[in-house]
Amino acid sequence: MRKPVFDEASPLLEVRDLRIEGQSDDSWHEIVKGVSFDLKRGEVLGLIGESGAGKSTIGLASIGYVRPGCRITSGQVRYKGIDLVSAKDRDKRALWGAELAYVAQSAAAAFNPAHRLIEQCQEPAVIHGERGEKKLRDRVIGLFQKLSLPQPEALGERYPHQLSGGQLQRVMTAMAMSCHPGLLIFDEPTTALDVTTQIEVLATIQQIVREFGVAAIYITHDLAVVSQVADRIIVLRYGEVVEEAPTTKMLSAPEAAYTKSLWAVRKLDKQEDLAAKPILHLRDVDAGYGNSIKILDKINLAVPRGRTVAVVGESGSGKSTLARTIMGLQPAFAGTIEFDGMELPLAFKQRSGLLHRRIQMIYQSPDTALNPRRRVRDILSRPLQRHLGLSGEARRQRVAELMSMVELNTRLLDRFPSELSGGEKQRVCIARALAVEPELIICDEVTSALDQIVAEGVLKLLLRLQQQIGITYIFITHDLATVRAISDWIVVMHRGEIVEQGPKSQIMTPPRHAYTELLFSSMPEMDPTWLPRVLRERQSAGIAQNVSAEMSM
């Protein structure tokens, strides 16, 4: 490869007027519209934006890679003076893995299930011609050690599926570092992780960047996360740069209106009110899969009518099982569920049509919750016809009414779900649940698949509906901002048990149960000093070790 003269003082990476088109429905649309930025050695650049903003596409294009179905139409990407846009595939391959490394969002998917981790971590070096099994092995193990992965000697012998998500993410970081690259791309490395795990990975990334002095691009949609690692932040929207500023400045004084609105999302807070009789009462409920695998253990819970109970916990804590047990989809092994003063049959099949109507559920992913082959009108009409016996004009009117309740234009009625945005889809789901005039709605992570601004809109809508028609919500979530925004009563779950429950005001403020404390304190704050501070606090309290130990199980 011809090596152009590279001036140490100039930026490591220069991106100039980058334009990328993506293919959808067999036609090409511009998804990155003239983005330019520079990156210096040792600098971390945060790319932030909502889904569809083109973050990942730009991140990958920065190392000269475009996914199938995309193409760079114009612009330049210069790494150490080499234009990666026009470079031949062979030349780019020589850089990838060696100089340019990539850390993907889902480590579980990005590791080849067929090979041991050590082989995969050594691979970049092997590909780039380094020989010496022992030498490479020692280097990888050294990296494992540096990233405080448990049992660094033995870890490499394991297969990807044998590790937890947080560990894999850290192993992938080690893999990216195995050739000491000059530029690292982190593509939402913590999005799929729980907060308590996320903090570990963030710490690792911070450590890597600092120790090796590599330049990095950190892609995320989470402001708090990016503020921990980035020196500079670029806010993206619809493939264009909205604002670019150093992190501290961006946090304290955002200029663009869009940035400000992003910043404002987290301010929603509901006034707690618990003066109501319970509509749902769970007593000593045990539940799980099949007949033997127990997931929920002795759950006692009272849900006040017209109020919101938030159930929080990490993945695997049993939150969703609780929702499904209440719905009767996973009938409880033991215990009783009382609804509006009468005992509910435990299995859904034994419940009457009326009960089906009175308790509704809204799902996490509106993409899979709506039949992609049915129009919005059909989706909303069917429960009206089935449960309320409405037809003709009355039904049409009611459908229109529902649409206005969820603040959707009736124009959308003739569309298919895939022609709606994520927020619109979730609103259709809400409308469908509302159609049968329920008293209790179980919301299973309804906002976690949505962008922040959209999520806020949905939360506001739910709150308004509660005020207007007095519906009761059980709100399952792992996002503490959401909890603050909507709940009256908080239930903290861990490994199938309720570790603590109480009014919002009580749970949100210390002192609290140790696990609740860990959970709440792991939630990143929009403050660059938060991460070192928390880590320091934990080290002194010995919590971090516990968490690490727990995760390596």
Partner: protein
């Protein structure tokens, strides 16, 4: 022929259909050459099959000339062993062979997809029962089982259609079941259950529309195989019976001519191959679209 069910399961639930015609047209415009060839072949065959009485110069079983008259202006492709016009029989053969194969595939399709959907939707012992029965049927080589059953029930067209349909529905059962299983775990199916919808509604209105694309592709593929199976059975003398014109037995009847370098008997075989190629090309293209396989 060989089952190809494993190939099918890679397909996934397809996107919007609102602008179905528009999308179809757009796909068509972008279709590769092979797909166009396939469409042209299939359309041509359909036209020939539908218009057989009008385009065939002579009747299907009408004896119009001497045995094995050579190609001439009067008999473009010569005549067969009974002095019937080869071209006319080839044209009527299109009609008979295609309609029998189409009927068979349709019955197999309704049966296999219906039961597959039911098994996937209801699950439990129903699923187990159907699946095991299908395992058993599939463990017996299809051609040999068909041979046995045709020997038992006789070689009428109705029996032929029903037997092949039943045997073939096992493949469709497997495919539709596995595709439907992917759909049944989606939230909207559970949402429909939570609304108290019945099994039939869930099967027909919620799941079926979502698995239609891979199933239709499978339909095309099965059509080809049924077509070849019928040809093979005719070849073994158990397929469509004379004097009805049918390509498989036409090959068989005239097979010895090949030993003399006469390509006439290869014409029906070629007709079989060409149609199968056409359908396969379309199916391949269709699979390519629906699987979202971006290459």
């Amino acid at each position: 022929m060989i089952a190809e069910e494993k190939v099918m399961t890679i397909s996934k639930v397809e996107g919007p259909a609102g602008t179905r015609q528009r999308r179809l047209w757009r796909h068509l415009k972008k279709a590769p050459l092979s797909a166009w060839i396939g469409i042209a072949i299939v359309l041509a065959y359909m036209a020939v099959a539908l218009l057989a009485p009008w385009i065939a110069p002579h009747g299907e079983t009408e004896v119009v000339g001497g045995q094995y008259d050579p190609w001439s202006d009067e008999f473009l492709l010569g005549t067969d062993q009974l002095g019937r016009d080869m071209l006319s029989r080839l044209i009527y053969g299109a009609r008979n062979t295609i309609s029998v194969a189409l009927m068979t595939t349709s019955i197999a399709f309704v049966l296999g997809t219906g039961l597959g959907l039911l098994a996937a939707t209801v699950g439990g012992w129903v699923d187990q029962l159907f699946s095991r029965v299908v395992d058993v049927i599939m463990a017996i080589p299809q051609l040999i089982f068909a041979l046995l059953l045709l020997s038992i029930f006789g070689t009428s067209v109705v029996n032929l259609v029903l037997i092949i349909a039943v045997l073939d529905s096992t493949r469709l059962f497997r495919v539709s079941r596995s595709v439907a299983l992917n759909v049944t775990v989606l939230d909207f199916v559970e949402a429909a259950r939570l609304q108290g919808e019945g099994t039939i509604w869930i099967m027909v209105r919620e799941i079926l529309p979502n698995i239609l694309a891979p199933i239709i592709a499978e339909f095309g593929m099965r059509f080809c195989f049924v077509f070849l199976t019928i040809a093979a059975l005719s070849f073994l003398g158990l397929g469509i019976q004379p004097p009805t014109a049918d390509w498989g037995s036409m090959v068989r009847e005239n097979a010895t001519l090949i030993n003399y370098g006469d390509i006439t008997p290869l014409l029906p075989a070629g007709a079989i191959a060409l149609l199968t190629i056409g359908v396969n090309f379309i199916v391949d293209w269709f699979l390519h679209i629906t699987s979202g396989l971006k290459e």
